[in-house]
């Protein structure tokens, strides 16, 4: 490095430190490289190169048969439908769980500390939500494919359960982070918990709640495509089939359709979030 030998005023004062930390970093990383069987050169072995070249060469031209395109569009719709149905299921589960676990809506905590039983119930619901979301949706899908068989039901249930956990947690955080004054006033003056929620808590947080839900719907579309790889139907399953048959043209078309779909969902959800602001 020229800077290290140049005139003292041009020398990089932090040079030794940088070299030291880079070395420490490499030493720490080396065992990880062994554990992941990090061998980039296998890409360049002759037989490997041939298979890859054939598969990637197949990408052009992408498959454009009418029948195939119709099938792709149908499967893309199924992917969106699995995501939307899963979100609906997640909402049906998450809304009551959020209502039951929000401590702002606790009547017993109005004068001071919450009673033991409502506290325990709320804590139990929180643990349930943690359990629901800490199992990845792909694992849920694998389990449900085993139980209800291959098909979209497994995908809907997997998205429904995982996203119920995420929505429940974030809804709770949104509701508790806001101003609680209106709600507690309603509760103190004898309104029911549901009334206090509908007229105090909900109007205050409606935009934030909707915007998070729309964002999650967008994520659900992405993950519903992935769930197809374990047999939950939709675009992912077709992609998996075409990959197993080394049909590069079909894979290329489906990748493009998938990217368009995700891009459209992204635009739509950005637009929706702007509209409701």
């Amino acid at each position: 490095m020229a800077t290290a030998t140049a005139h003292p005023s041009m020398r990089d004062p932090a040079w030794t430190g940088r070299v030291f930390w880079a070395a420490v970093f490499l030493v720490l990383l080396a065992p990880a490289l062994v554990a992941t069987e990090f061998k980039p050169w296998i890409f360049f072995q002759a037989d490997n190169l041939k298979v890859t070249a054939r598969f990637v060469g197949d990408f052009f031209p992408p498959a454009f048969g009418t029948e195939f395109l119709l099938m792709v569009v149908k499967e893309a719709w199924r992917t969106i439908a699995i995501a939307s149905a899963g979100m609906a299921l997640a909402l049906v589960l998450a809304i009551p769980l959020t209502l039951a676990s929000t401590s702002i809506l606790s009547i017993s905590s109005l004068p001071g500390r919450m009673h033991a039983i409502p506290f325990a119930v709320r804590q139990l619901i929180r643990w349930l939500l943690i359990l629901l979301r800490s199992i990845p949706e792909l694992v849920w899908a694998l389990v449900f494919v085993r139980v209800v068989g291959l098909g979209p039901a497994a995908g809907v249930l997997a998205i429904g359960l995982t996203y119920a956990g995420m929505l429940g947690k974030v809804y709770g955080e949104i509701l508790e982070s806001g101003e609680a004054h209106a709600t507690t006033t309603l509760l103190r003056n004898g309104s029911g918990r549901l009334q206090a929620f509908l007229f105090g808590l909900l109007p205050q947080n409606a935009t934030e709640l909707t915007s998070y839900t729309v964002y999650r719907w967008e994520c659900a579309i992405r993950s519903s495509a992935v769930l197809g790889f374990v047999g939950a139907g939709g675009l992912g399953q077709q992609m998996d089939n075409s990959m197993k048959m080394f049909n590069g043209g079909e894979v290329a078309t489906m990748l493009v359709v998938f990217m368009l779909m995700v891009g459209l969902a992204d635009l739509l959800s950005a637009w929706l979030r702007r509209v409701i602001q």
Partner: protein
């Protein structure tokens, strides 16, 4: 007092909230209608029995020491995959973020649109799809999973990095530019040190995400705990499946609580 008759805001044709709600309801109804969910099959006595049996089998995990050792090895492999994948992504993300950002007002940034397009393409394909694609040339095992994580995360980090480079305070860089220092050095000695803490925090955040992703990536054959899960589930060896599931949940909960604790520690 005279009241002014006002139309109900919910019944007006330009009530955007109503239209959006109606659209969403139609979407959900159409989804349930078009998917052949066979819910009757799900809630039948036979399937409830199957769920019960499945859950019962999950309650007796295999805790044989030799099997637990295999689990530990797979967990370490999962962690290593996520770490190497994130490091690759940080390096390539930074390499792509430099041409993907407009460094100063007069910067023509000729390659900005092209690198941004590349980053978007990398980002919009999920890790799992990358892994399935890479299996063809990298073969089964953790290497494919690592590269898949690296490719997807490069897209994510590259985009975040270029945003922080563009939003960095320009004072120090501008001072060097007026002195006639070439652009490469300006980046190395002014912009990069300024944004480095932010880049590191993005990288750590993605690492946390990648640990979770790496755990399931193996389901398509990408190594780690996921590959074990798919293997034992395929063989219907439920005791081993149960142990792998528990290991996965423990790993995810551990990462979640560590990140929560470190966040709280740093905020204080």
């Amino acid at each position: 007092m005279r009241s002014i008759a006002r139309p109900n805001p919910w019944l007006r044709w330009d009530c955007s909230v109503c239209w959006v709600t109606l659209g969403l309801v139609i979407l959900v109804v159409a989804s349930f209608w078009s998917l052949d969910l066979q819910l009757s099959r799900l809630f039948s006595i036979e399937s409830l029995k199957r769920i019960g049996r499945f859950l019962g089998e999950l309650l007796s995990p295999n805790i044989d020491p030799s099997f637990l050792w295999k689990l530990a090895v797979a967990s370490v492999e999962t962690l290593a995959m996520s770490a190497v994948g994130t490091v690759i992504a940080a390096l390539f993300g930074l390499l792509l973020a430099v041409p993907a950002s407009k460094h100063h007002v007069a910067d023509p940034a000729r390659w900005r649109w092209f690198t941004r397009l590349t980053l978007n393409a990398l980002r919009s394909i999920p890790e799992l799809v990358w892994a399935a694609l890479l299996l063809i040339s990298a073969g089964l095992g953790p290497f494919a999973g690592t590269l898949a994580l690296g490719l997807h995360t490069t897209g994510v980090l590259g985009r975040l990095f270029s945003e922080s480079i563009e939003n960095a305070p320009s004072g120090a860089g501008q001072a060097l530019r007026i002195q006639g220092v070439p652009e490469g050095r300006i980046f190395l000695y002014a912009t990069f040190p300024t944004v480095l803490p932010q880049l590191l925090s993005y990288t750590l955040y993605r690492w946390e995400n990648n640990i979770r992703a790496a755990a399931v990536l193996g389901v398509v054959g990408g190594g780690g705990l996921g590959q074990m899960l798919a293997f034992y589930m395929g063989l219907f060896q439920m005791r081993e499946t149960s142990s792998v599931l528990i290991a996965m949940i423990v790993l995810v909960v551990l990462v979640d609580s560590l990140s929560y604790l470190s966040r709280r520690f740093m905020v204080r």
